[in-house]
């Protein structure tokens, strides 16, 4: 299993993701600096969370124009797998590898809390291979702009096309399931070919071993085993 993690100035979950992937696969991912324009062949590229370029202008906008992202677009166009988490999701949207956009949380505040996700019925994808539809996972979020927005036509087509991968569902009965106002409770989506996924929750922060939940490990294991096949 060969993986690569992109690093932009301002990325801050790169180490966390590296530790998580290495723990699962036993192999350290390649770390790719944003100025590099070439990618060695890998089974998956992971774009980690953080505040690439300070979130300035629009989240992910400046990172999406970095040389390394051209290489990622190439990799994806050859059918390569890509996972973007949090800021990584925002970058994938800015690059156009995924449709729609993420806007400010409806509460207009940064939100860091546990959420419960339900795996949706999707098109064929290696990224959710081990996870049955309906599987529920407790994984935390931490973001300012995680409110997924698309027009009704796009939302309908995502749903009909099986591109909605994860939705927020009730966790704490005393609180709303959806932490950010995201359209139709969407927490993660897939590209039309099922090989690019973006999600707001941070699986690398739910690895057991001192974390409140171990479900992120289950999730990442599914992703990594799926793309290694």
């Amino acid at each position: 299993m060969r993986s690569a993690i992109l690093i932009f100035p301002g990325s801050n979950c790169d180490r966390d993701m590296m530790v998580a992937v290495e723990r699962i696969t036993g192999r350290r991912p390649a770390l790719v600096w944003h100025k590099e324009s070439q990618l060695d062949p890998v089974d998956i590229v992971i774009i980690p969370g953080g505040f690439s370029f300070g979130d300035y202008l629009r989240c992910g906008a400046l990172a999406a124009r970095a040389p390394a992202m051209e290489a990622v677009v190439d990799h994806a166009s050859r059918g390569g797998a890509v996972l973007g988490v949090c800021n990584g999701f925002q970058i994938l949207l800015e690059t156009g590898l995924l449709p729609g956009t993420l806007v400010r949380n409806s509460g207009l505040k940064f939100v860091c809390r546990e959420t419960r996700l339900a795996v949706q019925e999707t098109i064929e994808t290696p990224l959710l291979s081990n996870l049955a539809t309906g599987t529920e996972l407790v994984i935390p979020v931490a973001h300012n702009e995680g409110n997924y927005f698309a027009d009704v036509a796009l939302l309908d087509s995502l749903e009909q096309g099986g591109q909605v991968a994860l939705r927020y569902v009730q966790n704490d009965p005393a609180r709303a399931a959806n932490p950010n106002g995201s359209a139709r409770d969407i927490a993660g989506i897939l590209s039309a070919n099922g090989r690019v996924m973006g999600m707001m929750p941070h699986p690398e922060r739910a690895m057991g071993n001192g974390h409140a939940s171990e479900d992120g490990r289950e999730f990442l294991t599914s992703v990594l085993e799926g793309v290694a096949r």
């Binding site: 505040f51 860091c112 005393a174």
Partner: protein
């Protein structure tokens, strides 16, 4: 004032210097200073940089111990945590800037304290804060609270250091003077700590980081002046934080330090280039020469005075090994940061500044540092407050109604609205974040955990500065102990009013003395700190707030436990309470303020020996796996602590009040040195207590229903308590 014209006393006075200080400058220089020189003196001699009112008393604090690698006097304190690692930490205030511009003031406070920590070669691993706002109903409070919290999150979340703990309280004395104290904790190799003393005459002095602008000029003197409505309207140029550049600067500095290129390094905090250059040169017993035309600036026509006193953020000054200059430059270029040799170390013991090919400043360093005025300010303690009896305070109100009022009071209600705006999980080593006792972060890749917290109870300090100073240390000690970690050392932030007033000075003296005594008794030396005085508006002083930031260490983070009750059928004990204290100490308590509507009265006294003994017992009960949850008893007393254990837990509790005495005193009294424990095995626990010669009182047991039952009173469900507890702040903030 123009740079060329000769300065007069009136100019010095405008900068906050006294006539004696002005005279001293004339004598030391043997001539009249120019504007730039006078600005440098006034900044270095300001309260903020020189600690002139507090130094005498700070010297009385215990600063030594086997665990201490570096005590006060550097950018941050350094404590040995074993395995070749050290914890580097400090707390710092940003009170005045945060009142003027809450978001940026708080954000730059976080940025500044982070620089203090990574300047020493440590990678920051945790952030905390201690906040005080005015009355929750005051018109400015929501605006200030939301701005400060967003600013703290804005910086910490972006730079990627988890904010894991802190405290927020409200009191009308902070209506015009909020407190924003930020603490950072970092991790370094104990043999690779970096210091600020310049070395080697001839070595290059390098400026790195962001460019210099006209931000916050004379912030250090502003922080040392009393507030009036006039200063608010003057609105000095506010510093703007740039956490993105801060992150790049942090990564670049840590990379450069790993490359073995740095000889000495100092961040540019208060008084910017002035204090950094003066401190580096004077600590090294050397001099420095800087060409101000080489300083990267982002505004045109900046004068020597402005460049020296700018408080632009995200900047550092370093002395590097000359042969490593190119390596260093390459690292900073990689991170897109300015890297500029601006001068050199000299052996003249003078600070010489060039501007436009002329000498803009040439002053001996000794007077700037050694002659910085040190005052022995007179003080007159206020008379001690009377002890209020339970009978004087107890109100005839049903217990559940009191519990409701207390849980939903400004000071005891849940802070979830606040801490959910902080990324408390980034770095993926947070074992327990905000919302419990002390927070715990794992030492990356090891079994060890670092417990951290901030604490102070201003109403106690106001009523009795000495006991209140002791209590702040003890409360932190209890919070650390309740996680199972061993308390190691403290940093402190002394927030007080105007020290020129004798009653305020007496508060400082009392609190520092009490704090010192407690730190000594508990073997938690003071390794760093900060002082913020003149927290007054139009003559109204704040409630004194000497905040303690404490760290502790646990050998195996897996053994730590939380406050939440885990399993039904376990015995609940109170440690530190004999049957005799069942009457409870209500004076100066939250109960007294919220229910009896009476502030003041003597606070509970603090028994340092009991604190040490009880803390030791609790840590052992955790280490041996006897206790399954622990909560220390602080604000609001036993019943509040018990309610918190139910709200955070998986099961409920049924407890029984004593047969006699005051029910409210028992439930809400704030006697010190106490903890509630849920234990797996009552027999083992009894044996442990007997071994320590400590009496623990069994008050009840855990039950499977998630509710709290007190004696024969109707049970109160967890859901109801959580609703009381979590709604007040969101309701206020809309």
């Amino acid at each position: 004032m123009s740079n060329a014209s000769e300065m007069r006393f009136s100019d010095a006075e405008q900068m906050g210097l006294s006539f004696e200080e002005w005279q001293l400058i004339l004598t030391r220089l043997g001539r009249t200073p120019n504007l730039c020189e006078l600005g440098i003196f006034s900044a270095m001699w300001s309260e903020h940089c020189s600690y002139k009112s507090s130094k005498k008393w700070l010297k009385t604090l215990p600063t030594e111990g086997a665990q201490v690698i570096q005590g006060p006097g550097e950018n941050a304190g350094v404590v040995d945590i074993g395995d070749g690692l050290a914890a580097v930490f400090k707390i710092e205030s940003h009170n005045h800037p945060s009142f003027i511009e809450p978001y940026q003031g708080a954000a730059t406070g976080v940025g500044g304290i982070l620089r203090d920590v990574f300047t020493m070669g440590a990678r920051p691993i945790a952030l905390l804060n201690a906040l005080r706002f005015g009355d929750i109903a005051h018109e400015k409070t929501p605006h200030l609270l939301s701005g400060v919290v967003a600013g703290i999150g804005g910086y910490g979340n972006c730079i990627g250091i988890p904010t894991v703990g802190g405290e927020v309280n409200f009191h009308s004395s902070y209506n015009g003077n909020i407190l924003v104290n930020a603490m950072a904790v970092g991790l370094a190799h104990s043999d690779r700590i970096f210091y600020s003393a310049a070395t080697g005459a001839g070595n290059p002095v390098i400026y790195v980081g962001a460019k210099t602008g006209r931000d916050g000029i004379h912030g250090a003197t502003m922080a040392s002046a009393e507030f009036s409505d006039e200063t608010e309207s003057k609105r000095p140029t506010v510093q703007v934080g740039d956490p993105f550049t801060g992150k790049l600067l942090m990564e670049a500095c840590l990379e450069l330090m790993a490359a073995d290129a740095v000889l000495s390094i100092q961040d540019m905090g208060a008084a910017g280039l002035t204090s950094s250059s003066v401190e580096m040169a004077s600590k090294g017993g050397l001099g420095m020469e800087i060409d101000l035309d080489l300083v990267p600036v982002r505004e045109e026509a900046m004068s020597a005075y402005e460049i020296m006193l700018s408080e632009s953020q995200e900047r550092m000054l370093m002395v590097i090994k000359p042969e490593q200059a190119e390596t260093a430059r390459a690292i900073f270029e990689k991170w897109d940061l300015d890297f500029m040799p601006i001068g050199k170390v000299t052996d003249t013991q003078r600070l010489v500044l060039l501007k436009d090919a002329q000498i803009a400043c040439d002053i001996p360093l000794a007077p700037l540092v050694d002659d910085a005025p040190e005052y022995d300010r007179p003080y007159r303690p206020e008379e001690l407050q009377p002890v209020l009896s339970t009978a004087q305070l107890e109100k005839d109100i049903p217990l559940d109604e009191v519990l409701k009022k207390m849980l939903s009071s400004a000071d005891l209600s849940s802070r979830r609205w606040v801490y959910e705006q902080y990324d408390s999980d980034v770095m993926a080593d947070t074992i327990s974040g905000p919302g419990g006792n002390a927070a715990m972060v794992r030492i990356h890749n090891t079994d060890k955990g670092l417990a951290v917290c901030t604490d102070c109870t201003p109403r106690y300090v106001e009523a009795d500065p000495f006991e209140g100073g002791k209590q702040a240390v003890c409360e932190a000690y209890r919070n650390i102990s309740a996680t199972g970690a061993k308390p190691l050392a403290v940093t402190n932030n002394l927030n007080f009013g105007n020290p020129e007033k004798q009653d305020i000075m007496a508060q400082i003296v009392g609190a520092v003395t009490g704090m010192g005594k407690a730190c000594k008794a508990l073997d938690t030396p003071v390794v760093s700190g900060n002082v913020s005085l003149y927290n007054e508006t139009d003559g109204m002083a704040i409630q004194p707030c000497p905040v303690i930031g404490m760290i502790g260490i646990i050998d195996d983070w897996r053994t730590t436990i939380g406050a939440g009750l885990q399993q039904a059928g376990q015995a609940l004990y109170v440690v530190g309470q004999s049957d005799k204290t069942n009457d409870g100490w209500l004076g100066c308590s939250v109960y007294a303020r919220e229910i009896a509507r009476r502030e003041g009265g003597a606070p509970p006294s603090v028994d340092l020996e009991a604190e040490a003994k009880n803390g030791q017992l609790v840590r052992e009960a955790i280490a041996k796996g006897i206790a399954s949850s622990v909560q220390d008893i602080s604000d609001g007393g036993l019943l509040i602590a018990m309610a918190e254990m139910v709200m955070a837990g998986q099961c409920g509790a049924k407890i029984t009040p004593p047969d006699s005495g005051s029910l409210h005193g028992w439930a809400f009294g704030e006697d010190q040195a106490r903890y509630i424990l849920a234990v797996r095995d009552a027999g083992e626990f009894a044996a442990l207590c007997a071994g320590h010669q400590i009496e623990a009182v069994r008050i009840g047991e855990t039950i499977s229903k998630t509710e709290l039952t007190v004696g024969d009173l109707p049970p109160i469900s967890k859901e109801v308590m959580v609703a009381w507890h979590t709604s007040p702040i969101p309701a206020l903030m809309g």
